[in-house]
Symmetry: C2
Subunit: 197 residues, 2 copies
């Protein structure tokens, strides 16, 4: 139920600056104001929404500058650590899961379904970060990823989806070598180039 509202915003159906009235949302979503409030708070913590006491909430935009100068560098710091940490801890089952995600991404790319591609992309990275075994790393990832995703879905023109799939396949292969010197350079290039996801 929270998910519904988030996708409404992340997918860009709501424009930045648009007001979010709890009552109206609760009606269109056929629920009460309680869950809506929680969803709004969650989105606020994800930086997609800003709310003012007694005055409501508005959809927040993401500037290119902020993405490139704040979100991406932080993401890089986070993932560099998480990937290095996860290397030793990934099981064969994990690699299989990553392969499955890569496959789903490929399917979505073939169908030009940008939404699904991005979704798979996020899952891929989140799975690795989870395997780092550091709860706070996951926590921070969750608070940053939605913004990058929103930026990509809103302003990102259709890029080289096939190439994106290839990069994740390469990342997976690199992870399987369990060699930091192989994984980290690849990761940095992956994040820097395809800046958003």
């Amino acid at each position: 139920m929270v998910e519904a509202l988030r996708t409404m915003i992340v997918s860009g159906r709501l424009e930045p600056g648009e007001r979010l009235i709890e009552n109206r949302i609760s009606q269109t979503l056929h629920t009460s104001r309680g869950p809506v409030r929680e969803a709004l708070r969650e989105l606020e913590h994800e930086g997609l929404v800003q709310s003012f006491p007694y005055r409501g909430a508005v959809v927040l935009g993401v500037s290119e500058e902020e993405v490139h100068e704040v979100l991406i560098p932080i993401r890089l710091t986070l993932e560099r650590f998480a990937f290095a940490k996860a290397l030793e801890r990934m099981s064969d089952a994990d690699f299989a899961d990553l392969g499955k995600i890569a496959w789903m991404m490929e399917e979505a790319a073939r169908g030009l379904d940008l939404q699904k591609v991005v979704e798979a992309d996020v899952s891929f990275h989140e799975l690795v970060i989870r395997r780092a075994g550091q709860p706070h790393a996951v926590q921070i990832w969750r608070s940053i990823a939605p913004r990058i995703r929103a930026y990509f879905l809103r302003y990102g023109q259709f890029r080289d989806l096939e190439g994106l799939v290839g990069e994740h396949r390469a990342l997976l292969a690199a992870l399987q070598t369990r060699e930091p010197d192989v994984v980290l350079p690849l990761l940095e290039q992956h994040i820097a180039v395809h800046s958003p996801l």
Copy 2:
């Protein structure tokens, strides 16, 4: 009202692993479950609490490894950017405010009031970050700072409080020169040495 619960946790009155039952909390805080729920969600987004559907929430600990290998590096990335950005935008009134905070910190340090010292420390950094004019930077800071603060208050023994004050005075002076080459090295050293805050 949210603040009350947060300080209960951050200040270490609640042990990691302790269960947080909405009903009990709402009673001890003389409020209803609604605000308590919101507070818990907020704390969850700040990484101080973890909650499981239909099973409640527990206080989360912060491991030394996570602080040093995740939170501090991310904080460094964030502040490096924010300070550089804020340099050009700080007004004399801002410098005056920073001076006031430094003074309050000194008072607290003299009285060995660790809680107040840390509070002033956080304010100092948040003010500069706010002046960077990048909403998302502030957002991320808010989601990271409470954890570092909690770590410091819980496990950090009384350190060189006077020295800490001095470092902030130096930071302020550096900011007033508006020279990145002066500020950034000082900042990096400040964060790295006094690892928490």
